[in-house]
């Protein structure tokens, strides 16, 4: 553990730590463009120069490792380093176009930030700026390239070389003729291409999807968990609810990965990143009942009463075998716990499952994306919603429904038609007196349901997901549910109350507390303990439950 001094502050760091990382721990900023903790060190930008005692020349903070007794002065304390860094910044900006008004990076741009912090000089450039060939051209399906804005830090090149190993991007030519481009006319097409936009410190690589949608300073952000697969990448939801004329009133403008060493580091996949439109598009906004062919909107109160009446009659006349519930691993632990409590524990219904036959087209990739495209499969399992162990009972529930043996079928956020096809589900819906669909978006299953209830989507929810490795992660609501939608747990509480059971919870945390007290897998876990980086359930526990 070498002990070093940075700006008169002492710190001990592990061997192999570079000066930028060591300074960061002390809260000291060493400006840099090319260094990224997730990539190899390039030493290309020369912005991280620091003065080190007994070294004749300035050293780069990215490639210089801390060694015992090192005394370092950053630009805050060293006039020599400051002058050098200012000079580097001036050179970097020599050919940079004054594009800020039209550049999507403006507001979160490394050049703007460092110029305001460390630059603030008047331009001494007399010659015309060197113009590059490609202005605003697509590099692939998701990324836009502007060669003029590029400062050749090579982060994107290293990303495609080291992380995706697809090697699409390269730097061509030398000196001030250098430019970045795709190799041999290829296209930047891999499932992680959106990350190069995040790591580009300037506006050279921007998001085609986000292009001109919203200025970044209009965005608010909220921590969440990607619901796209069982990895549960930590994300930030960037949304705009104050200026509704922007982007057609869409609330979510983009998703960004949030650092979590144990889950997704700095990255997320494109499939998850660009899945956000479902938060605002094609949503179920009000409860509705199907009369003949059309759906008629109805009141929440009427919808809950109708469900309660049907459930009561079915249970009284035909017993608990006449009700089937298909839960969903898209729901949070809190929602699933209430489903189990209400339907299994209180009403004694056995036909409750959340599993669908595996989708064979969905595959693991070798990085973040997993074949199980649900965020909370393990959570549903640990809560105890797999009553028959490994055997999936969903087909049996649907068979019973098609055979006319069910009075009520309650489906949560699962598009049955997408799995089983239109005809069998339509046939089944015709044989069940009441098929309830509670979900976020319209789909072919909701069209067939007799009663449709609008549920809040993950961006509107407070709750937890348990990822495939048993890490319980907290997602926070970015904004209120759309229109009349309600979080699933609230709908379940209302239904339970209408059935005469006292389900009262102040909030999601209260449900989780009860869950933690009743399910041994979740014992000892609290929202505070989960924090922003999750709580790993011990592997032995996860395994013992999976094999049980």
């Amino acid at each position: 553990m070498p002990k070093i001094t940075i700006d008169d502050k002492e710190i001990s760091v592990e061997g192999g730590t570079n000066i930028i990382a060591a300074a960061q721990r002390l809260g000291i900023e060493v400006p840099h463009y090319c260094y990224h903790p997730g990539l190899s060190v390039a030493g290309a930008c020369r912005m991280c120069l620091v003065e080190i005692e007994k070294m004749p020349k300035l050293q780069t903070g990215c490639s210089t490792l801390a060694t015992e007794g090192m005394v370092i002065k950053t630009i805050a304390h060293s006039a020599k380093a400051k002058a050098a860094v200012q000079g580097v910044l001036e050179l970097t900006l020599i050919n940079h176009p004054l594009d800020c008004p039209v550049c999507d990076q403006a507001g979160e741009c490394g050049l703007q930030d460092y110029y305001m912090k460390y630059g603030l000089y008047n331009s001494r450039m007399r010659d015309a700026k060197v113009k590059k060939e490609k202005k605003a051209s697509a590099l692939g399906p998701h990324v836009m390239l502007d060669q003029e804005r590029c400062i050749l830090c090579s982060r994107c090149v290293r990303f495609t070389h080291e992380i995706t190993k697809t090697n699409e991007i390269g730097i061509f030519n030398r000196g001030d003729h250098s430019y970045i481009d795709v190799v041999n006319g290829r296209s930047l097409e891999n499932n992680y291409s959106g990350n190069v936009v995040d790591i580009c410190p300037v506006g050279a690589l921007t998001d085609r999807d986000f292009r001109f949608q919203c200025r970044v300073w209009y965005l608010q952000e909220s921590d969440s968990i990607c619901p796209g697969c069982s990895t549960g990448c930590n994300i930030k939801i960037h949304f705009n609810v104050r200026r509704r004329h922007i982007a057609g009133g869409r609330r979510v403008q983009r998703l960004k990965p949030r650092f979590n060493e144990a889950v997704n580091q700095w990255w997320m996949c494109d499939e998850g990143r660009y899945a956000y439109p479902s938060i605002d598009e094609n949503r179920i906004t009000t409860p509705s009942a199907r009369l003949a062919a059309a759906h008629q909107r109805m009141d929440w109160r009427d919808a809950i009463d109708q469900m309660a009446l049907a459930l009561r009659e079915a249970l009284a006349a035909y017993g608990p075998e006449s009700v089937g519930v298909i839960a969903s691993p898209q729901l949070t632990n809190e929602d699933l716990y209430l489903i189990k409590k209400l339907f299994v524990d209180v009403l004694g219904i056995a036909a409750v499952d959340y599993r669908m036959p595996p989708n064979r087209s969905a595959k693991n990739d070798d990085f973040l994306l997993r074949a199980d495209r649900n965020p909370n499969t393990l959570g549903a399992h640990l809560i105890g919603l797999s009553p028959f162990g490994k055997e999936i009972s969903t087909p049996r529930i649907l068979e019973a429904a098609a055979g006319g043996r069910l009075q009520v079928l309650y489906v949560f956020s699962t598009d049955l038609v997408a799995v089983y096809g239109e005809a069998p589900i339509a046939n089944m819906a015709a044989h069940v007196p009441l098929m309830i669909y509670q979900g976020t978006n319209h789909n072919r299953t909701s069209t067939l349901a007799h009663l449709v209830l609008p549920a809040a989507i993950y961006a509107e929810k407070n709750g937890t997901f348990t990822n495939y490795a048993g890490r319980v992660q907290h997602l926070k609501p970015a904004f209120a549910p759309l229109a009349e939608a309600m979080p699933d747990w609230k709908i379940l509480c209302k239904l339970a109350q209408a059935l005469g059971h006292d389900f009262r919870y102040a909030d999601e945390e209260a449900i989780f507390e009860e869950l933690a007290n009743s399910q041994p897998a979740f014992a000892g876990i609290t929202y505070a303990g989960i924090g922003s980086h999750g709580w790993p359930i011990e592997k032995e526990r996860v395994l013992s439950f999976v094999t049980a």
Binding site: D99, C100, P101, V102, A136, Y218, H245
Partner: protein
Amino acid sequence: MRRNHQIPLGAIVKGLALTAGHFFRNMRIHVAHLFGRRLQEKGMVTFQYPEERRPFSPRLRTRHRLTMRADGSPRCVACMMCETICPANCIYITAGEHPDPHIEKQPLKFDIDLGVCVFCGFCVEVCPEDAIRMDTGILEFAAYSRQEMILTMDKLLMKEGAQEPDRALMKENA
């Protein structure tokens, strides 16, 4: 109880004399004007609006306009500086792609709600492209509905034969 101030009798008399002086002087001039006399003497200023208009100061902020490029398209690049700085939140811009990659960005919609605008002029100050100005000299934009108070891009580009600012009048007054 001691009176701690006296009635300022002198000042009252002085003030009344001034007011009365103006009153009688103007009455004499305006009555004379009625009979076509003493026309070279100017009485108290009353503009017979709207036939007669008061000259504007050249720095007066009047209704906005968007300036144009040579081809008649707006100079605006939809950077949203004006929308951002606007303290009344009365500017609504939707941005889109410009066919020329060297311009890149243009407004698809540019609406100003004059019913909300406070005429502070920040939008003009902040514009990096000199794309918005408040020099039209138009002050009469009252309307019968709130919707009509919203200026769309076409109106802002003054394409609809909007009133041109009276530069001569502005200069004369400067």
